[in-house]
């Protein structure tokens, strides 16, 4: 056991050797995308499949090496601003990207435990999905475009997680948004599908605006702090103010190392504003003068929340995700289940040291997550489209992750992220397999009886469904309960203690709903008899390239439970989950700063086993209710009409609570009206007709009037000359006299 542990903690390649080659992880899929995009059609199907899958597999292998290196206790990177060591991390700064005055952005990559996990998930699940896509897209003539976009997406997502500054993260953030747009609108000749792509991009853009505003405010705050920092702020980090300023100049204000140093300095002595600048101090000069540091940080975090709701499909910007099902199913599995939508959660986990400055923002994040989880779960009740149920399920599970991130349970959020990536990708790929074998049928009312006809798909779908509903002993149970139980133990300051507890209750309700609608989905699609409206009489199971990834992901959904078991020892000597222990180095700054500021505390109220039992009961109750309704109750009342209020509720839920229609009326129509006004009145009428053509018209009329002066009659000209002379004479006389 010890030798096994030693094997995994002694990396064969030292981290310092790996550091300059980190960029290869991003470069391989990017090169793949370029090659396939430029020459894909000529290369042929087999070559394109090979290049695409091999580039992601190559990234996976390098990520494995890097992951091994960061498990080594000897590995550490240097925080270039404060000079302290970052344990279990490897990073490399490739130099300045651009600098303007004293604002600098470096192109730097850093891999710590959090990034390492994300790398493995992205490249691992990404590879499985590439493998799956080789068979899924085998009938499509535009396969090369698909693989180019998929590789581009993987490259951009890797940039996002490896970035060591907010600006480079934003490059990846935008890149995945663009790749998502390209993949959703993949079959662009259908205008509805193209419109779905546009909707995703516009919703993302609203979020990006929030992200940018937050970044700009952050630059201003760091600049103000640089001027006003007192030596007491930096004494804990053993730095002088000059060293801090030169460090910020070298690394740039938006690098994560700078932000972490800033957070530590800001929280050095929060209760004595005379000796050290703290969250309650006022900013003295600059555009933000008059506001307190804490207030500006709250605003920054709320803007980041807006950005995260756009990218991670939370309330109010979740509307693009269900429409995104217009794209190919494996793309949905990768983008809208495993990776892109987790970018918001990743952002908050990365900025954990800033998040703890503002209990208000934390409560906002938690409550947004809880509300989204509940609303999306309720909408999923009445959806008949297989992929739409899974889409709303994704929105709901992301709500869970936000709940955890907002309450300071970042390890639980990432744990749920990983388990969710496994089982949701498995569910989406299973849905794709179902569609592949049933002539692209997605309406579950027209499926049924697939258990015998598609055994591999059915078994993996069952395993993934059990995982998401949270049945012991699958991983989804542990991750979901880590969140819910953790919320129970969270104590937020500033009179916001009610927020995590309310979120926990909403989360439990959402878990019940999750169990219900996922069981409903499984029962209607897989069990029972084949529906008489089905398109094909018998479904055929998919080939190896599709079922192997399904099995791999199903096994991972089960195996990931190990990370939730309390196998490691915490610093206080108790057992703690493997994931919490693994991510402690990453989240330690956030936890120490929270302790100093007294903003959020995880109390150990105990009762873990009782909580586990209760969660298991909720999942069973939800599944049991669905089984009862859909296997006994409804089939026994076929042909009877349901009572009118229930039908009304069902219709309201099926229409997604008319949120899309509300947005259409409140946002889209006014914007369209303004643009119509600007077009018809300002552009067409005012500029075109009045100013441009009007000038020409006036010139023409004056010309045709003046034309009559030139009538060819010499005597008329002479008469005019005589008149002019008389006039001049009169003028001269008047001047003289």
């Amino acid at each position: 056991m010890d030798s096994l542990q030693n094997f995994f903690m002694r990396s064969p390649v030292p981290a310092t050797d790996l550091a300059p080659s980190l960029w290869w992880i991003i470069a391989l899929p990017l090169i793949g995308a370029l090659v396939i995009g430029a020459a894909g059609k000529r290369l042929g199907r087999a070559n394109v499949n090979l290049i695409a899958s091999a580039s992601v597999a190559g990234s996976f292998l390098i990520s494995l090496l890097v992951f091994w290196a960061i498990n080594d206790p000897r590995t550490s990177a240097i925080n270039e601003v404060s000079g302290s060591a970052i344990r279990y991390a490897v990073g490399h700064d490739f130099g300045t990207w651009f600098a303007a005055g004293d604002f600098r952005v470096n192109f730097g990559l850093q891999v710590d435990h959090l990034t390492g996990i994300m790398l493995l998930v992205i490249t691992g699940v990404g590879f499985l999905i590439h493998l799956y896509s080789t068979e899924y897209m085998s009938h499509d003539s535009a396969y090369w475009r698909y693989f180019a976009y998929l590789n581009l997406f993987v490259a951009m997502m890797l940039t996002l997680v490896m970035a060591d500054s907010l600006i480079l993260l934003f490059v990846g953030w935008e890149g995945v948004g663009m790749a998502s747009y390209l993949l959703i609108g993949f079959w662009y000749s259908d205008p509805a599908k193209a419109w779905a792509g546009r909707k995703a991009f516009v919703a993302n853009r609203v979020g990006d605006f929030g992200f940018l505003v937050a970044s700009f405010l952050l630059v201003l705050v760091i600049a103000a702090f640089e001027q006003e920092a007192k030596p007491a702020n930096l004494s804990r980090a053993a730095m002088t103010v000059q060293e801090f300023q030169s460090g910020v100049d070298r690394k740039g204000p938006l690098a994560f190392q700078t932000l972490e140093t800033f957070a530590h300095a800001m929280s050095a002595a929060p209760d004595s504003p005379e000796t050290a600048v703290g969250p309650k101090s006022e900013i003295a000069s600059g555009p933000l003068a008059g506001f307190s540091y804490g207030g500006v940080l709250t605003a920054i975090l709320l803007f980041f929340l807006l950005g995260a709701t756009g990218k991670s499909a939370q309330l109010p910007l979740y509307v693009w995700l269900p429409d995104a099902m217009a794209g190919p199913t494996p793309a949905s599995a990768l983008i809208h289940a495993a990776t892109m939508v987790t970018a918001g959660v990743y952002l908050f986990c990365r900025l954990n040291f800033l998040l703890v400055f503002s209990p208000t923002a934390m409560a906002a994040v938690t409550l947004v997550g809880a509300a989204t989880a509940l609303v999306a779960a309720l909408i999923a009740f009445a959806q008949d489209d297989l992929k739409k149920v899974l889409a709303y399920s994704t929105v709901s599970q992301l709500g869970f992750m936000f709940m955890a991130a907002g309450a300071g349970l970042w390890w639980a959020a990432i744990f749920h992220l990983v388990t969710h990536a496994f089982f949701k990708a498995c569910l989406f790929l299973g849905a794709g397999s179902v569609m592949h074998g049933n002539a692209e049928e997605t309406n579950i009312k027209r499926l049924g009886g697939l258990w015998k006809e598609m055994p591999a798909t059915s078994w993996t779908f069952l395993i993934a469904t059990l995982a998401i509903t949270g049945i012991v002993p699958l991983s989804g149970f542990f991750s979901k309960d880590a969140i819910l139980h953790g919320l129970h133990q969270t104590h937020l300051a500033d009179g916001l203690t009610w927020a995590p507890h309310l979120a926990q209750r909403m989360g439990q309700l959402a878990a019940f709903c999750t169990a219900f609608y996922m069981s409903r989905l499984f029962i209607l699609a897989f069990l029972g008899k084949r529906s008489p409206d089905a398109k094909v009489a018998h479904a055929h199971e998919s080939g190896r390239a599709m079922t192997l990834p399904l099995w791999a992901l199903a096994i991972l959904s089960v195996a990931a439970l190990v990370y939730g078991l309390p196998l490691m020892t915490s610093p206080s000597g108790q057992g703690e989950p493997v994931f919490l222990n693994f991510l402690r180095p990453v989240f330690a700054p956030g936890m120490t700063i929270a302790a100093r500021l007294d903003s959020v505390v995880q109390e150990d109220t105990g009762g873990l086993l009782a909580a586990y039992f209760f969660a298991w009961l909720i999942a069973l109750a939800g599944g049991g209710l669905a089984a009862f309704l859909y296997m006994k109750f409804f089939p026994s009342r076929v042909g009877q009409v349901a009572p009118a209020p229930l039908l009304a509720i069902r219709s309201f839920t099926q229409h997604k609570f008319y949120v899309d229609e509300l947005y259409e009326a409140v946002v889209v129509k006014p914007v369209k009206f303004v643009s119509f006004f600007l077009y018809k009145v300002v552009d067409a009428l005012f500029i075109d007709t009045v100013m441009v053509r009007g000038t020409a018209w006036v010139t023409q009329r004056v010309g045709s009037a003046l034309r009559y002066v030139q009538n060819g009659n010499v005597q008329a000209y002479a008469a005019l000359m005589a008149l002019a002379m008389v006039g001049a004479l009169a003028y001269a006389l008047m001047k003289v006299l």
């Binding site: 009538n711 005597q715 005589a722």
Partner: protein, 100 residues
């Protein structure tokens, strides 16, 4: 002594009659006569002022004007002959090719 105003008034009257002929008459030759009359009116004014001031400047200017009038008459009549050969008419009303 005849007061200078008599000369000037006579010259002005001649000038106006000449201008009237220029502006109103249709025959090109009559228009030229009007021009000559205007020039002679100017000459009269010059000589009258020269007589008033007792200097010779006016006389010299009058001689200049006569020379210029002669040259102008020569060329003008040549143009009139050319036009009458081309168009067959001397009436200015009908020579409107420069219209518009």
């Amino acid at each position: 002594m005849v007061p200078i105003s008599h000369f000037l008034l006579l010259a002005a009257a001649l000038f106006c009659i000449g201008m009237l002929a220029l502006l109103v008459r249709r025959n090109a030759l009559i228009v030229f006569m009007g021009v000559e009359l205007m020039l002679n009116a100017a000459n009269l004014t010059f000589v009258a002022f020269s007589r008033l001031h007792g200097s010779n400047v006016g006389h010299v200017s009058a001689l200049f004007v006569i020379a210029v009038a002669a040259a102008e008459a020569a060329i003008g009549l040549a143009i009139v002959i050319a036009v009458s050969r081309n168009r067959g008419t001397l009436l200015i009303d009908e020579l409107r090719t420069m219209k518009n």
